[in-house]
Assembly symmetry: C2
Homo-oligomer: 430 residues x 2
């Protein structure tokens, strides 16, 4: 039933009506947007599974202690940037802001039963309390892929190859994105080789490097000299950072062996360097107008330590739904969004609705998705609606069809028509 616009008088007079807006910073997914989400999640899942990754999930509700454990800095982050509240059993609960603590908890719990290396992936929704004016989302989804229990460098190669394959499976090519790699151990070796042996100084330089793209070379030199206390090593460090010897990185060479060549060593890449212990990587959009980080991850050493378990090495990455969608739209790769059924059965009068349902049921046996237009519109309007919604086939059911049980299936794209019984039409749809 097509509804007439409601009387504005009624709306204005009643102040008690509820708003139809969603909560601030979250999204409603109407069918056309949901189709895009599902398309992205399907390609993510299929690609991860093609590499032997198994899907897991946990609840969005986690004990707040899971996020506060890493120290005072974390307690502040949890209190200010997450949804944390106390339940009526006096338990502090947090809506998970990231997946790694949950998966670490699950791996630690079964560390003695799991056959390592374990390959897991998940597509969780994550929650952050963002200030509304920033315009950032408070709920988003993220693909998380992790390989636990192997410190072999080919695990790093595999994770990056999996990320790469996701882009290929969306129809991207190597010109659309670039893979940046760094390695914390190589960075430490590099600092040592240049005579910077103090760990704290190393960390400070790493943090400065993380902002390399955002400041001028002059500023970089100045700040570096400030950290070092002299200008002596500024030039050799700058040179080592801007001209890395590409051949030294095993992971990059491994990717080349798999035919993946849009890879560049970037000695400034840090990505929360305090967290990662080996390889660090980031996929970047090459589009000038959208030169942003797409997917990022790295290697960490001691995932289960907080739970009192032995060290379990891991490497993983995360990839957000908003970033993914933006990339596909920027590069004209978005193909999803049509959600109409294959066939719409259109009764001419409501007295034929039930007959239309029996025909629909028969056609579904062919594997087709079949709707019945039981609106009170005229047949012409029903056909218009089917065309507008990208339905591919229609069958009109009126007096004759009900009597003879012979129907005409029309392909709206080709105008091809098939006349026959329900079974005969079903055969065409198979």
């Amino acid at each position: 039933m097509q509804l007439p616009p409601p009387s504005p008088t009624i709306i204005l007079m009643n102040k008690d009506f509820l708003s139809t807006d969603s909560y601030k910073g979250v999204r409603d997914f109407y069918p056309e947007d949901m189709a895009i989400q599902r398309y992205m999640f399907d390609v993510w899942g299929q690609t991860a599974e093609s590499f032997g990754y198994e899907r897991y999930d946990a609840s969005i509700l986690e004990p707040a202690t899971l996020y506060k454990a890493k120290g005072a800095e974390n307690v502040e982050m949890v209190n200010e940037q997450t949804y944390t509240f106390t339940d009526r059993g006096n338990r502090e609960v947090t809506l998970r802001p990231e997946m790694t603590p949950s998966v670490a908890r699950m791996i630690a719990k079964r560390s003695r039963e799991l056959a390592f290396p374990v390959r897991w992936y998940s597509i969780p929704s994550l929650y952050r309390y963002e200030r509304a004016q920033r315009g950032r989302l408070r709920e988003h989804w993220q693909l998380n892929c992790d390989l636990f229990g192997s410190d072999d460098y080919t695990a790093d190669v595999e994770l990056i190859a999996l990320g790469y394959q996701i882009f290929m499976n969306f129809g991207a090519d190597e010109s659309m994105f670039e893979i940046l790699i760094n390695d914390r151990q190589e960075m430490t070796a590099l600092y040592e080789s240049l005579g910077v042996t103090n760990e704290e100084t190393q960390t400070k330089i790493t943090r400065l490097n993380d902002h390399f793209d955002k400041i001028t070379e002059e500023d970089y030199r100045k700040q570096l000299a400030g950290i070092l206390g002299s200008t002596e090593k500024v030039v050799p460090i700058l040179k080592a950072i801007t001209n890395p010897s590409e051949s030294d990185n095993k992971v990059k060479n491994g990717l080349a062996a798999l035919g993946i060549t849009n890879v560049r060593l970037d000695r400034t890449l840090a990505r929360g360097f305090d967290y990662y212990t080996g390889t660090i990587f980031e996929f970047k959009d090459t589009d000038e107008a959208n030169n942003r980080s797409l997917l990022g991850g790295g290697r960490y050493d001691n995932l289960a330590g907080l739970f009192g378990e032995e060290k379990i090495a891991g490497i993983g990455f995360g990839f957000g739904d908003v970033t993914m969608r933006h990339f596909l739209e920027t590069h004209d790769l978005m193909t999803a969004g049509i959600t109409a059924p294959d066939v719409m059965v259109i009764p001419t009068e409501s007295e034929y609705n039930l007959h239309a349902h029996t025909l629909a049921q028969d056609l579904r046996k062919a594997g087709a998705s079949v709707g019945v237009d039981i609106s009170t519109k005229k047949v012409g309007k029903k056909l218009d609606a089917a065309t507008k919604n990208y339905v591919t086939h229609v069958v009109v059911v009126g007096e004759d069809e009900v009597k003879t049980k012979t129907y005409e299936l029309k392909n709206l794209a080709t105008n091809e028509k098939t006349t026959g019984s329900a079974a005969e039409l079903a055969a065409v749809l198979e």
Copy 2:
């Protein structure tokens, strides 16, 4: 890497270790459980789509007012049985306990653009604050199917047929469940025909009927007489309720036209009767030990009214994941749970790991899911692990294979072996 059990001494001495337990009343989904969830959700989604239903979703975060709007009783329910908290912008937020208010909000928002009737489905996670001792879950998933904007009785037929088809698509037969139907308007007519015209008395009887199965007939008679203020109409009402005239219900007859016959009129069925305005239905397990409600729903009249929109008729149902799984297990219909890749490539030494990855990449082109066992186990142990995890094919990669680029693909189920290049093995897997 297979990890040795950690030293118990270390665990006992450090009191600061985090628990690996999830939050109370929620579940972790390890891959074997996740595979079951996904199997159920896939069949749900495929069935709904075969009827032309489009998937939507909203955020789990909703303004608390959305649930409190229906009156004082609701405010109490929201405060005591939901997760509701105040955010730092002083907004009251609720983790959605059900989907209907969210979908009503979304439909109302676009009521002037949507082409009714609208068929939508969703598989949301829902949150309720249950007292822990009840052993009930605080987070669960639910299939929600709704048809909006038609008051034609075949819409009711369609919704029930969709529910029925879900069971069929899981391999169930009609003996395993029964469909109970009632109708609020028919009940009102029945009360009137028996001379019970007071609306409040009607409601009281309906509420008593809702407990019909849980009390003795003697108790029922007594309480009914109490409501009526006399015993005069007790026998005619009891008779009308226990012996309904089956032929009168159009929806039941419509289902029969679709070949659906495990349907029974049940005049005691209420299911939150205050909410529904026409057809009410419930699917029940016929298993003696598990004679519980599986899927339930009904027709409601004024979905968008709270938002100031014109009346939009709707009919819908909900079906929980826990109930679904229990039904499949009870009737031995659960077929999901294996998550291993199709092929495991097994390097004999870690120096062949990278070569194994290149072979895996070639085999994936055939559409197979392929893992690489980069653990440090001996080959025999790796083969044992593949067998144990239900991997279907293995390829061992050692010195000879790397040299000759000729491999042997072994089917673990049939012991069939294929020798050839990567491309030749891929052809076997296609």
